[in-house]
Every structure is written in structure tokens, then in C-alpha cells.
């Protein structure tokens, strides 16, 4: 550790250049990581909402609705269909407007429509289900979220591809800059390297100080980037809460594990830090390794 600090003190400009390059790359990468995870979280959230909601006229009988529900379930295109009665709708309404007594006073269960919340087996069945429902008697309105899901899927796909290009560009740029800085450091230590070589130092021994510095910079940059990013995130929490109002939580289903994204949990923050630290150390060490392989023969 002392060697690393001494080396930084002896080459302050190169050290700052390394730090700022890593800082910028890691900060932007962490931002992309958060955007992507939130987008996937939102996508998962929207997918978990009823994909088709059909509202019936208030006078439609429960038995008619039950018949439509049975027809849907036997069609083979629906995973589930949940009946929400007038009373249940009123309870939901009460919960949503508990802070507004005026609105609660104005509404009674009689004026709220009963509904069916339907989950399709495939998104492609959604238009067919909607068409079927529209032809049924006693239907007031049919809402289905295919467009929202499609738009989110397309947005997520665009962001993912843009991130790939962004990552590719930043990795290449960062590696080139770090190789150049390391090359410069090697040139500055040319006499020392030559001397060590003549004294019988192994190649790895000569490379070791550069690699130690690389790990140090990768880790320090990650810690600082993560701290600043989480600070900014903390300060903007009210804005995010307002933006995501009504969304209790966002999570990503990884198959083997469900990762909670919002509100930010300790495990998500931990994962973000591990991602940043791993990326920072890996890119810094790999660049230094490439530079030392090339310039220390």
C-alpha cells in the first residue's frame, strides 16, 4: 500500500489522469446500469398488471359476467381471469382515495362497474381477447396494455443496445487511455526497470507495482463513484417517489431469484457496488496488463 501511495505521489499527473478516466467511465456505466435495471423493473411491473381489464355496465348481472369468464378460461388463450365486484371495486376506490373524504362521499358501490382482470397466455392473444370481449353483451369498456408493453419492450431493447454500444465505446477508449498512461509511467521508470532486470527480477516482479496501482485505482474510483452516485440518488429520491407514485415496488425476475430494484434495497445497492468495483478493477487491471505485456519485454 505504501509503495502504491509513493508511486502516486511520484507521478501525480498520470495518477489523476487514470483516476478521472476511470471515474467518468464508471459513473456513466453505473448510470446505465441503474437505468437498465429500472427499465426492466418497470417492464416486469407492467407485465404483472392485468393485461386486459374489461369494465361491465353497472346493470350487468354477475351470472352474465361469470359466463364470459368461463368462456375466456375455456378458450385456451387465458391464464387467469379475476372477477372484481362492485363492492370490491369500491373497497379499492376507498383505499386509493382514503385522504380525500370529498371523493369518498361522492361515490357509492352502485355507481362503480364490476370488472374482469385478465392475463393472457401470450401477448399476441391480447387483440383477439379484446375483440371477443367487445362483442359480448353488457360491456362498457375494454382496456388492454399491449401497446404499453410493446413500447416498453422496444424502449428496453433500444436502451440495452445503446448501452452495449456505449459500453463498447467506453471500454475501448478507457483501455487506450490507460494503456497510454501506463506506457508513460513505464517510460518514466525505464532506468529502474532496466536495473531490476539486471539484478535478476522476474517479469512479474517488474510488472507487479503497475498492477497493484491498477487494482488500487479501480477500487478507489469505484468506491468514490458509487458514493457520489448513491448521494445523488438519495437527493433525488423525492422526485423518483413522485414519478413512481402508485408503484409500490419494482423488481426483476432473474429466474432463480427476484431482485428488488425500487425502493432501493441493500442487496440491490450491494450488487451495484460489486458491479462497479468489478468493472473498475477489471478494466484498469486489463489495460495495465496489456501495457506491461507490450512495453516490458
Amino acid at each position: 500500500m505504501r509503495d502504491v501511495l509513493t508511486a502516486i505521489k511520484r507521478t501525480p499527473y498520470q495518477s489523476f489522469a487514470t483516476f478521472f478516466t476511470l471515474f467518468l467511465t464508471l459513473f456513466l456505466s453505473l448510470a446505465v446500469f441503474f437505468i437498465l435495471t429500472f427499465l426492466y423493473g418497470i417492464l416486469g411491473y407492467v407485465e404483472s398488471r392485468p393485461q386486459v381489464t374489461v369494465y361491465f355496465q353497472t346493470q350487468t348481472s354477475e351470472s352474465d359476467i361469470q359466463k364470459i369468464k368461463d368462456d375466456l378460461l375455456t378458450s385456451g388463450k387465458v391464464v387467469s381471469a379475476k372477477y372484481v365486484s362492485k363492492n370490491e371495486a369500491f373497497t379499492i376506490y376507498q383505499k386509493m382515495n382514503k385522504d380525500n373524504p370529498l371523493l369518498l362521499e361522492m361515490v357509492s358501490p352502485d355507481i362503480l362497474p364490476p370488472s374482469l382482470e385478465i392475463f393472457a397466455k401470450k401477448p399476441t392473444f391480447l387483440p383477439e381477447i379484446a375483440e371477443f370481449l367487445k362483442k359480448q353483451p353488457g360491456i362498457d369498456e375494454v382496456n388492454f396494455q399491449k401497446n404499453i408493453i410493446d413500447k416498453l419492450l422496444s424502449l428496453t431493447s433500444i436502451v440495452r443496445r445503446a448501452s452495449m454500444i456505449f459500453f463498447g465505446y467506453f471500454i475501448v477508449t478507457t483501455v487506450i487511455i490507460l494503456i497510454s498512461i501506463t506506457h508513460f509511467k513505464i517510460a518514466l521508470k525505464k532506468d529502474e526497470i532496466e536495473l531490476m532486470r539486471l539484478l535478476g527480477a522476474s517479469k512479474f516482479y517488474i510488472k507487479k507495482p503497475f498492477l497493484k496501482e491498477a487494482v488500487f485505482f479501480g477500487l478507489i474510483s469505484s468506491v468514490i463513484v458509487f458514493s457520489i452516485f448513491m448521494g445523488v440518488f438519495y437527493l433525488s429520491r423525492y422526485y423518483l417517489q413522485a414519478y413512481l407514485s402508485g408503484v409500490a415496488n419494482l423488481s426483476i425476475d432473474l429466474g432463480f431469484y427476484t431482485l428488488s430494484v425500487w425502493p432501493v434495497t441493500l442487496e440491490f445497492a450491494g450488487l451495484a457496488f460489486v458491479f462497479t468495483a468489478f468493472f473498475g478493477i477489471a478494466i484498469s487491471t486489463a489495460s495495465t496488463l496489456l501495457a506491461t505485456q507490450k512495453y516490458i519485454k
Binding site: R10, D191, E194, L195, R197, L198, L199, G200, A201, S202
Partner: protein
């Protein structure tokens, strides 16, 4: 033991550094290499250190045949050789202690052991209280002492010195030679020099080189050209 057998060294541009050089130096011998500039003194030292490879012929140092040595063996060989340079090759950004310790650190010794050995060698070269001093604060003679200390430190069995007194005044030259004299019989010492007084007064084995050839190998020789 150092063995040269019919060693030739030609550089890519065609100039010949060494021609048919053969000799054998036993352990703990003290040898001077003398000859005018370009005679091949430095080339012999570089061949021993394997900083250069011969065009033909065989060079062997201790148990190593330098023509077939691998990386690990080369590291081991170089860890048994100390080199003293005419221009000292002292690192400006390191203090005296660090400059000497560099040769020990590469062998993986503990900090405690390094400190003990550096202190010992600082005493040998008469720089006991200068371990924290940086090179810029030292005279040429003191810099050469540091260079010798680094070469000697860590039980290096062979000391090669290329014009170690070339940049020094006569008094300092003798002070430096006294250090080499202290090491006589404990290490193999090979000194390439132009200094007539030193060679003549010490009466050690002398290799006289001329245009890359070994002209004389004198057991208790003097400086002849």
C-alpha cells in the same frame, strides 16, 4: 567459476567486439580487465551478466551454460551477480536505503532481513548514517559507494565493475578500491578499468585486451598496453 571458450561477438552492423576469447576465473578470484576503449572489456562483463549473447563460443557462469539458459535460471544467475556501473545507475527518486534494498526486495526477503543486510552493507561502504539521504545530496564518490553496496548486498557471489572509478578523483578512487579489497577472497571480483595506478599497485590477475582479443593473461600483472 566463470568460463569463456572461443567466444566471438559480432554486432549486427559488422563490427567485432570480441574474437576468440577463452579464459577461466575461479571462485573468489580478483581480476582486472584492461585495454583501451573498444577493446572488449564491457562486452565481457555483459556476456557474464547475459545482457548480451555471444555470436559463437561458450560462456558458462557457475552451473549455468549461458547459451541454453531459461528465464528462471537467468533470474537466478543475475541474483548471484552484482554490477557496478561507471555512471552509478542510482535511482534519483529513491533514497540510499531504497536504492540498495532494491536488489534484496526482488529476492523476496522480509523487511526485517532487508533492513539488517542493508545496514551491514552501509557499514562496509562507510555510509552508515546516510540511509535516508537522496542521491542528489551525495557526492560522486558516495554515489559509487551506494552502487557498490547495491552490487554486494544479498550475498551476490560475483561482482562486476565497469570503470567504477572512471568519474572519481584519485583519493575517492582509492577509497572505492579499499572497499573492493575488503571483499577480496569472499567474492569473485572482475573490474574493467583504465586506471594504471590501481592495476599496478594491487598486483592481481590482469587480462589485457586489444581490439577484441585477449593479448595477455597475467597472474600478478600490471597495466601494459
Amino acid at each position: 567459476m566463470i568460463l569463456f571458450e572461443n567466444v566471438f561477438k559480432k554486432f549486427p552492423l559488422g563490427n567485432t567486439a570480441l574474437q576468440d576469447i577463452s579464459f577461466e576465473i575461479q571462485d573468489n578470484e580478483f581480476v582486472f580487465l584492461v585495454g583501451s576503449s573498444g577493446a572488449g572489456k564491457t562486452s565481457i562483463l555483459k556476456l557474464i551478466l547475459r545482457d548480451m549473447v555471444p555470436t559463437s563460443g561458450m560462456v558458462a557462469v557457475n552451473e549455468f551454460d549461458l547459451s541454453s539458459i531459461n528465464f528462471r535460471q537467468l533470474e537466478k544467475l543475475r541474483r548471484s551477480i552484482g554490477f557496478v556501473f561507471q555512471d552509478f545507475k542510482i535511482l534519483d527518486e529513491k533514497n540510499v536505503f531504497e536504492n540498495i534494498a532494491i536488489g534484496l526486495q526482488i529476492t523476496g526477503l522480509s523487511t526485517k532481513e532487508i533492513k539488517r543486510k542493508v545496514t551491514e552493507v552501509l557499514e562496509l561502504v562507510g555510509l552508515e548514517n546516510k540511509d535516508k539521504v537522496f542521491p542528489i545530496q551525495l557526492s560522486a564518490g558516495e554515489l559509487q559507494r551506494v552502487s557498490i553496496a547495491r552490487a554486494v548486498c544479498g550475498d551476490r557471489k560475483i561482482i562486476l565493475a565497469d570503470e567504477p572509478t572512471g568519474n572519481l578523483d584519485p583519493k575517492t578512487t582509492w577509497d572505492i578500491m579499499k572497499i573492493f579489497k575488503k571483499l577480496e577472497g569472499k567474492k569473485t571480483i572482475i573490474i574493467a578499468t583504465h586506471n594504471t595506478d590501481i592495476v599496478n599497485s594491487l598486483k592481481k590477475r590482469v587480462f589485457l585486451l586489444k581490439e577484441g582479443r585477449m593479448v595477455k593473461d597475467m597472474r600478478k600483472g600490471g597495466y601494459e598496453l
